[in-house]
Amino acid sequence: MKKLINNAEDVTVEQLHGFGLAHEDIEVHSDPTFVSAVDGAQDRVAVISGGGSGHEPLHGGFVGLGMLDAACPGQVFTSPTPDQMVAAGKRVAGDRGLLQIVKNYTGDVLNFQMAADMLREDGIEVRNIVIDDDVALKDSLYTAGRRGLGTTLIAEKVCGAAAREGYDLDRLAALCRKVNIFGKSMGMALTSCTTPQNGKPSFDLPEGEMEIGIGIHGEPGVARTKIKSADAVTEILANHILEDEAYTRALPEWDRAQQDWVDVEVKDITFQSGDQVIAIVNGMGGTPLSELYTVYAKLAEVAGRHGVKIIRNLVGNYITSLEMAGMSITLVKTDEEILRLYDAPVNTPALRWGC
């Protein structure tokens, strides 16, 4: 293992310490651990997210003006615990309530649910919206369902902007749900990665082979194949995304009337000719930025062939798996609302424009 770390058991703590020092507008809290923007969200709905560490800049790098109010990082590749979200929620939420954006991993879903239950007991109105945009997985009944990938980033950007515009909690939750059903992603890995705690790669991926349909936790994907050219790999991922059929599944949401978690049926879009999309070509951490542009070129071509136009793009490392080589592609269909909110000013460590 070759890492710039001091103490493998404590990497997230030491990393967050530096993160706080480097970014004056962000406060780092410990026991329990979370990061929050120095400006609170008293007069509007607060937006928080979180998940395992090792995906930086997600989520801490997206805390700040026009995006997240707080983020809760767990141990490396391990969902955060409810006490973190409880502390973060209490810190940033005012009377207008709290939206929690949750990636669809069993651990994240359960821990954020527990947190929501606890915050509700403290009088804070909370909605959890689950992001499950990974088209590599087809089935939801016999699996844990589609994972949350790059659409999470767009949901955080758009909902952060909407909160600033004054959306109330219900409207914000509806917007977040819309972004989720408008977004689809898929990823691949050329190499595995090594968590500091384990000191050896999470799985073996020999020279000449790659994994298709990976998540973001250094886990293997849905299939292993011989390494293909960037164009061939991009074709596979882009076609999966662009031709993915409307996907129906039940996602847990809090029902205020029933005062319980209920399964809400949610159905995706299918991309149509004429759609205008935001595209992310996301590096997994160990792939040079330059290679992502080769992918972008092919992605634009494949999308064009489907009549889908990329009108905004992000090319870079946004949701990583430590030093894994590989990438994921995300397309999010836009409408006037999503585009306006996406273009709104944002000032966070990892995303900044308009100010």
């Binding site: 409810p82 527990m114 844990a144």
Partner: protein, 212 residues
């Protein structure tokens, strides 16, 4: 002679023993979580049960002990296992409440109710290659001893054995919940880490009750 009721002391010994066993098996559990998961289960369990050990309250109330364990697991494990084991111990605590002395019937009900709570929380059933595949047969075995008029000591032995058999039985299964389910057919041929840690935890209880 083995005890015929469970006390708060036994529960505390259980958790300490479980913490030791899970620490010893940290690398093993994490290795099980590598091919079909994200290679952290051992780390999570060690962290959680060490925290639970450190948080054990004094006193005679088994429910208070179970509750403290649940809270420590919930706030220290994270991942899927944290809320699920937290739910398990919360349900135990609920059943233990006012059930002193904790005899074999109360224990059987507690294990049944705990596994039911985990099923509900994780939307999982037996056969889906999860901790349920160890926890469920353990509850069934305990209930069987209770029906046959057995002792707590025999019941926890039977539960541990059933859990171990259940964990082994996950090897050929197709995973339908948790991260392993993403792998589809590739999940077959690997033992589920959560079922394995469940078997270890129940074996720790049996050992403690047997005075080992």
């Amino acid at each position: 002679m083995t005890q015929s009721v469970l006390t708060a002391d036994t529960l505390r010994d259980w958790i300490r023993k479980a913490a030791d066993v899970l620490s010893e098996n940290r690398a093993y559990l994490t290795d099980l979580d590598s091919p079909i998961g994200d290679a952290d289960h051992g780390n999570n369990m060690q962290r959680g049960f060490n925290a639970a050990s450190a948080a054990l309250p004094p006193g005679e109330d088994p429910a208070a002990v179970a509750k403290a364990v649940a809270m420590a697991l919930i706030s220290k494990v994270g991942g899927a296992a944290g809320p699920l084991y937290g739910t398990y111990f919360l349900a135990l605590a609920k059943r233990f409440e006012g059930a002193a002395p904790l005899d074999i019937d109360a224990l059987a009900s507690a294990l049944e109710e705990a596994v039911a709570a985990v099923k509900k929380r994780g939307k999982a059933e037996t056969g889906m290659k999860t901790m349920i595949d160890a926890l469920d047969p353990a509850a069934v075995a305990c209930r069987m001893e209770a029906t046959q008029g057995g002792t707590v000591s025999l019941a926890v032995q039977a539960a541990a054995k059933a859990a171990e058999a259940g964990a082994s039985a996950t090897v050929p299964m197709l995973a339908q919940r948790g991260r392993a389910s993403y792998l589809g057919d590739r999940s077959k041929g690997h033992q589920d880490p959560g079922a394995t840690s469940s078997a270890m935890i129940l074996r720790a209880l049996a050992d403690v009750v047997a005075g080992r």
